[in-house]
Symmetry: C2
Subunit: 385 residues, 2 copies
């Protein structure tokens, strides 16, 4: 198999783009990534998107975006894996290039979520859960996370405020990200006063619904070097799955697919958690950040929250997470999120992260989660000379 690298990145600001359509947003991101890579026409375009059918009544967005981005005719398709759609698109691009099927592939994530009522969006998001055994009974996606957070607090003796560090860190980091949705720091007091959504999940435990698109160009490392580009190597790309329904798992507080995905990725890259310089994790809710840190081996069971309490997740900490704002403060355009995480990791590894630049970072990890842990995609990215 060929060695594979990311050679171009592009993104739109994350936010409420009422004046812009799904095809506009994705075209901007794809064109920006192609320009960044100095590539005119890739061999294929893989789009990650969750909700275009339900919220925009538009399917077949692979072909649609290819056409609008000026790439009519190329191989193009859409993948859907709930909130992990973006990283799944990258996994397919990785696969196509590593296997020698294609030379240059664009992976794009896009979502358009704010042109509908919040009831429509909430109902659509619940389709990431089990329609028959969860959503049918009125369980929303926030409610599922509330069940997890409540159980975690009960099991390990934490209070609501113990989770604040995740939100504070994300908002602090988003201040310096021009593409982030919420560019203002929040205080512990604000966190504690935040409106309750589904007890114990408050507004400030939750990531923001948003519109946005991001894209990366994938090619062989050999090609990147020949073109004089600065390649960021994909050292690992792994998808793992679990039951969709939370109640079908032996231990709901273990994200088994996150664990499988991360540890298989470590094996593929030939490294361990201690080699990871920063971790762009899937903080759709603060509880998910805690569980991800545990699944990926940065904390023992029940101690993920402790990393936030002890300040180990900040830019200066042992395991920096959400370095450009994370889902919480950059915003969470669901099908695009997996690509935003990778774009931001590439910025760090290239030294383009501005005021949030981590000094001397060489290896970054991203983890994109679909459903309440039903599908998890882990990528390990490496700066090479």
């Amino acid at each position: 198999m060929r060695d594979v690298s990311i050679i171009g990145i592009g993104q739109t600001p994350v936010g409420e783009h009422w004046e812009r359509s799904l095809r506009d947003l994705s075209t901007e991101a794809v064109r920006a990534a192609l320009e960044d890579a100095h590539v005119k026409r890739p061999d294929a375009l893989y789009v990650g998107n969750m909700l275009s059918g339900q919220l925009s009544r538009q399917e077949n967005v692979g072909a649609l975006i290819a056409d609008y981005a000026g790439l009519r005719g190329i191989e193009a398709l859409k993948v859907e894996a709930a909130c992990a759609s973006g990283a799944v698109a990258l996994h397919l691009a990785y696969m196509a290039v590593a296997g020698g099927i294609h030379d240059i592939v664009v992976a794009c994530g896009v979502e358009k979520m704010t042109d509908t009522t919040s009831e429509e969006t909430t109902t659509a998001l619940a389709s990431a859960a089990d329609a028959t055994y969860e959503a049918e009974h009125g369980l929303s996606f926030v409610a599922l996370n509330a069940l997890l957070m409540r159980r975690y607090m009960h099991e390990f003796g934490y209070k609501r405020e113990d989770f604040a560090g995740f939100a504070l860190n994300a908002h602090r980091n988003a201040v310096n990200n021009p593409n982030a949705m919420f560019r203002k720091p929040i205080s512990l007091e604000a966190f504690m006063r935040a409106r309750m959504i589904a007890d114990p999940v408050s507004l400030l435990d939750s990531s923001g619904i948003a519109d946005g698109a991001a894209a990366v160009v994938v090619a062989s490392t050999e090609f990147a070097r020949a073109q004089g580009l600065v390649p960021v190597r994909i050292a690992a790309s792994v998808i793992a799955t679990d039951s969709v329904a939370l109640h079908d798992r032996e231990d709901p507080l273990t994200l088994q697919a996150a664990r499988d995905s991360a540890w298989r990725a470590y094996a593929q890259a030939g490294i361990g958690p201690n080699d990871i310089d920063f971790f762009e994790l899937h903080d759709a809710f603060t509880i998910m950040a805690a569980l991800s840190l545990e699944a990926a081996g940065f904390a023992a069971r029940g101690e993920g929250v402790r990393l936030a309490l002890e300040g180990q997740i900040t830019l200066e900490g042992r395991v920096p997470i959400c370095t450009m704002g994370g889902l919480k403060a950059r915003g969470h355009p669901v099908g695009a999120t997996g690509i935003y995480q990778v774009v931001e990791a590439v910025q760090q590894l290239r030294g383009q992260a501005g005021a949030n630049q981590l000094q001397g970072c060489r290896i970054g990890m991203t983890q994109n989660i679909g459903g309440s842990g039903a599908i998890v995609v882990t990528h390990i990215l490496e700066r090479i000379e």
Copy 2:
């Protein structure tokens, strides 16, 4: 790249399965295909599905089906490319095995369309068209095909009855397919009397909305041989795209993506149209059958209908199409159709097509179309000893 073959097939009957869910149908097809291949646990499952989000409020069906099929934990994902979703899933499976990323991959197509009102289904199907410039103005998918058929009749001087041969052939062949939805022959009189849906497209020009699931197991040809299985080789697997909106094409009567996809597939397989023993084409409407025959090089522009008029598309003809009933009479569970086509082609190539068996066939082609030609996937399959 490795030589890739299909080593197992499975399918449910196509029809109105009001008593069965999407997960039940797909589990049956996946289990049947795995048993046929004598494989217990594949490396990955790729699901093609178009409408689960809109009609069943269930996304993330890759992980869901993997779990219900007894494969919890494996890499699993869903692809969506309107009615071409099934063949796109197979293309990804082909890619993963050819490139050496995975050894054994299952491609499954599934759709559940009949548990809703016909208005809901019609609206959902229209999402395969351009939501902003076509569907928004009330154009249904049948209407789009009516525009094409009307233009074709006008341009080349055909009458409605000239298209009857496609429907008659499909229904005749479905009689002997135990999994087909409409197992009865129809007459020319019935065709001419058929209720008009969107002039000139009548009920008997149109394929049936249906539930169903089909699956194939893909592995390296070397593995297949080592296991003593009868491999059907994937000699070509190609995706091409076009504009989603019909009016954006220079010539609406040329299915450019079908042409690109077919001719690139011929090049990949090192053959031409004359080497194809039978062609499982995408006869969602009779006009699409005519246009596909032209795009794939079996008839000149404006002469696809002639093949039906002259009886060249029957089991005894020069270019047998829809040998097990096609979309018209086997039924068209949209995201599953691309896999049904391949399953039926494998049956022919293995000599398992029963009363419809083509004698001495060696090379079959399948073509799966999404939207009004926006994405087209062509596979060339070859019996090897």
